[in-house]
Symmetry: C2
Subunit: 601 residues, 2 copies
């Protein structure tokens, strides 16, 4: 009689994703305060009255509908059949409920019939979807960014025809960027668009297209990067096209377009999410419509992509939270070792297991604070009111934070999932254990929607060096201010956090000034320093967020719960914040041995 | 036409494991010098004359026979059928050649008919097997430790009957420790052994038994931990039994014993390696013979286990090397971005890719030096000559290094494999890419043969605090000496390495003294500090090894190759060595918030 299987399966059945509502609320409130969103019209009411029931309903949907399908999807990946891509059992029904319950339209603009909820609230909901079922979550997330790109760049006619169907979730979207020869470097795109009356015909092959085909919706609207005849070479000759799977006619019928998924990738993780090879124009050309201006495709795509980057950060954060939950349940149930009185101990009582759980929880809450802060700041940047200076400052801050959120949260997702496996021991290495799926799923985060190096290069090159460190300086000033304003009651337990943040900011300012000065002379410097620079800033920003959490918890939580948050911040100060010294050494002393290397690797 | 698949498959076909012979030789020579093995009788001749052809033949076997089967095994995991476990296609034939070519007997003692090669040489060969095909490599590695346990603890009769068949590789071995309720904590073992004439009958269920059944050999000799009637409770009541799959009769026939694999785990990685649930005694009891003294089973098992821990370190190191090779080939082929003249660049020319490859290579060579040093020191400890003091000192050093090698090399294996995935981008996330298998395979290293926390606890509790830091002090003195004796020619490029090592050793000494003093009063301190303590020492020891590599390379390599090694050491000094500050903060300032934590996790 092998008890392990029985116990473990029972455990799993009772152990679906549970949204950490009180820590989410804490992060929402601290992000709202940091970004100053409550002064925007209607925002305070939304946070006070609407947010709570929305978060509670989303938590139920995530835990009861999406989470139980997560391992189903891993064991029964999407399949490419002659009639199209077939998703795992239960996904079609789950999506139907998702749409009917209004989740698809949550963040969609009101002008398209969406609910137009603030990004700050939808960010918490997005985290839940990612934590419960990343493969599923990726599909609706694509639409949120697509609608933003439509709103900003597409013609009124295209918007009329497509946006409401996207906003309702009736139709889905996909981003078609990558080609076999063209990944991080989009300048080598070959897919071509030829004029055809007032529209275009597209021909080419795209790979790694997430949710490029599926059976969740009647139609899928593809956003395709392609070159037109006589377009300039490189990045300046790329345009963005809307290419529907089925073209709606004037009478409302849908006519099959010349774009098909011809195969799926078999992947390490996110196996329910169909990663398609798409072929356009095998039968005369896929009908497409230009979005935005000719040859301005990258600009249009980045409106969409920036949203997706925040989405990757939030989903990764959800996976970190899920890893913590799985590890915590395991650590509470599993008996190993004995206490002084000879009784068996739950492994959560062992100091090293506590250390791992604290690491997981402190990284997760730090990442949550940072991602929500980016979301709240985006709401300010997009708001119709407020003075221009406030909106511009918010937009600058979002530009700075977006690559940090994408890269750091996805790295945190991988690190926390790996700790989750370790807490499980051998039980975490078998396919039965959901943590092993989470570990495999999390590994895509640092790769897709721009690798984490692409994020780091964007941060250091475009967001820091280009404005000579101005936006960064504003952020560091905020971090220093939070460190210096820690309430007296936590001044002692958080002494290391305070000194670490103040010292770390000072050092980062100094290093940044030096990088700005050197980068003009050393073309490879940004490449050699970027990843460590991003992580240096991220580790400081994470500490900032936990300082704010400790402060906010003193206002909102009872003494025990507030103390737990202070403990997380104190743990972070001694176990994570010192990583700044590694990043500093790599940035200030280590670029020479990367750029000057002449020897064979 | 999708070129990606064609190119990539062609690439894979030409891209089997290649043993890094010149860096292996370098590490062998520096380990031999550190441990002082050349003064042992016959050793110098072996290193000078025998080692080279052995390493070259092993490299061919690893690259031509084992490596091509690696992904085959991942795609066709071992299966449990009524007739027993069936290994993936090609494994039986590969093992036949492995045995016939003499690889099974390489490290087996001459008294059993083995070749009795020094551990230092077999360590490099073990690394190759792990790098080429970890699942396969695990099987013969078990026998090396088992023979050592037999030699030290088993009766002459058992040795006569079993050891020569194990030494030749005719029969295989398996270690049966874990039970559903009993993993890291073996005190709760329930498998029981009842006396039966001059032998025993065993009854129980064991899980996670690597290579517990298979079709590579006619017989499998299990080493089983069990309790006898009236044994004292806990760890002091456990004995070790030899339980063959088939019992040899006086006439040489083999009679089926009452031990069977009833199912296999489906795992994230090492899928070709059958991880068995074993049932003993369903039909009257499995016949077994006691090894060593009654109730001294843990001591006997640890003779075997200590060898396996070195083996895990070497295999993990092999995976790190393999990740580097896969990433390097990809980085040399893949074009993304353009140079100043507008030509497409191979991604190996991008600074951040170079940074990742340098990280992979410097960690791998540092880990190699450390693992080989442990192997060479083991040869001194086991040698028949030399004074007792030398042997005792060597044994003390091996005891200290073994947990560091197991834990750090396996963590390095995971870190380097993850970097390897990152260098591949999206192509590293699909099942076609061997790097995605290596990433999954590597994750078992920190878990099995004692989790890395068990290693850290062993290091800090038993190997450091118990002797009041004496053995550690000797090691730190060697590290400081190597730092201070860096040749003048590399003094400038390695200035950071020198100062980092000297400073890091000083700080670790101070922290150790404080831990020794505090640990008597604070029972949870070891648990809270152990993992960071181990990694602190490991990072310093890795730097030590690269300092020695730089010195050795100046003697052996031409100027270009020697410079490449110095570059690795310089990279390590600025990108890895500063991690000591994180470990120091956790050990010296961070244990309070782990042990004193009262709040709910």
């Amino acid at each position: 009689m092998n008890n392990r299987y029985i116990d473990y399966n029972q455990l799993l059945m009772a152990n679906h994703y549970q949204a950490p509502l009180s820590l989410m609320r804490l992060a929402i409130n601290q992000a709202a305060a940091t970004a100053g969103v409550r002064s925007l019209e209607g925002y305070d009411e939304i946070l006070s009255d609407l947010a709570e029931p929305i978060l509670e309903s989303a938590a139920r949907f995530a835990g009861e509908v999406l989470s139980p399908l997560n391992s189903v999807g891993d064991r029964n990946p999407s399949r490419c059949e002659p009639r199209g891509v077939v998703t795992p059992p239960g996904f079609v029904e789950a999506y139907r409920r998702f749409r009917e319950d209004g989740w698809a339209s949550l963040a969609a603009p009101a002008e398209y019939g969406g609910q137009g909820l603030p990004t700050l609230v939808s960010a918490a909901v997005t985290e839940m979807w990612g934590g419960a079922n990343l493969s599923f979550a990726m599909c609706p997330e694509l639409t949120v960014g697509a609608l933003e790109a439509m709103r900003v760049h597409a013609s009124a006619q295209l918007n009329d025809e497509y946006a409401p169907r996207l906003a309702s979730g009736d139709w889905a979207t996909a981003m078609c960027l990558t080609e076999p020869q063209s990944g991080s470097d989009l300048s080598t795109l070959r897919t071509r668009a030829e004029p055809d009356g007032d529209a275009w015909r597209l021909f080419g092959r795209k790979i790694y297209i997430s949710w490029g085909d599926h059976d969740l919706t009647d139609n899928i609207v593809h956003f395709v990067l392609a070159r037109t005849p006589d377009a300039p070479p490189g990045l300046r000759g790329i345009s963005l096209f809307l290419v529907p799977k089925k073209v709606p006619s004037a009478t409302g019928t849908l006519e099959k377009n010349d774009i098909d998924a011809v195969s799926l990738e078999h992947k390490m993780g996110i196996r329910a999410s169909p990663t398609c090879v798409m072929v356009l124009g095998e039968h005369g050309g896929a009908r497409g419509w230009l979005i935005g201006r000719l040859n301005d495709g990258l600009g249009c795509m980045f409106t969409m992509m920036n949203h997706m980057r925040l989405g990757v950060g939030l989903h990764s954060l959800g996976l970190a939270e899920r890893s913590l939950q799985l590890a915590r349940v395991h650590a509470r149930e599993r008996l190993q070792g004995r206490d002084a009185a000879g009784a068996q101990r739950r492994i959560i009582e062992h100091a090293d297991v506590r250390r791992m759980l604290l690491m997981m929880k402190s990284l997760t809450q730090a990442a949550r604070g940072l991602a929500y802060t980016a979301a709240a700041t985006l709401d300010v940047a997009h708001s119709a009111e407020g003075d221009d200076g406030q909106r511009t400052a918010a937009a600058r801050r979002v530009d700075l934070l977006t690559p940090v959120v994408k890269a750091w949260c996805s790295d945190v997702g991988v690190e926390v999932a790996s700790l989750g496996v370790q807490v499980h021991g051998g039980m975490g290495y078998v396919d039965d254990a959901e943590i092993s799926q989470v570990y495999r799923d999390a590994r895509i985060g640092p790769i897709f929607e721009g690798t984490n190096y692409i994020q780091a290069q964007d941060l250091l090159g475009r967001k820091v060096i280009r404005d000579k460190g101005a936006a960064l300086g504003e952020l560091l000033a905020d971090i220093e201010k939070a460190a210096e304003e820690l309430p007296a009651v936590v001044a002692h337990p958080l002494a290391h956090l305070r000194s670490g943040l103040v010292d770390g900011c000072w050092r980062l300012r100094k290093a940044t000034a030096s990088l700005i000065e050197q980068s003009a002379r050393e073309p490879d410097l940004i490449g050699a320093a970027a990843c460590h620079f991003l992580n240096w800033l991220a580790v400081l920003a994470g500490g900032w967020q936990l300082a704010l959490s400790a402060r906010q918890a003193a206002l909102e939580f009872d003494a025990t719960a507030a103390r737990a948050v202070v403990d997380l911040a104190a743990f972070y100060a001694t176990h994570v914040l010192p990583r700044v010294y590694t990043h500093e050494a790599a940035v200030t002393q280590g670029t020479q041995c990367v750029t000057a290397l002449t020897a064979d690797l």
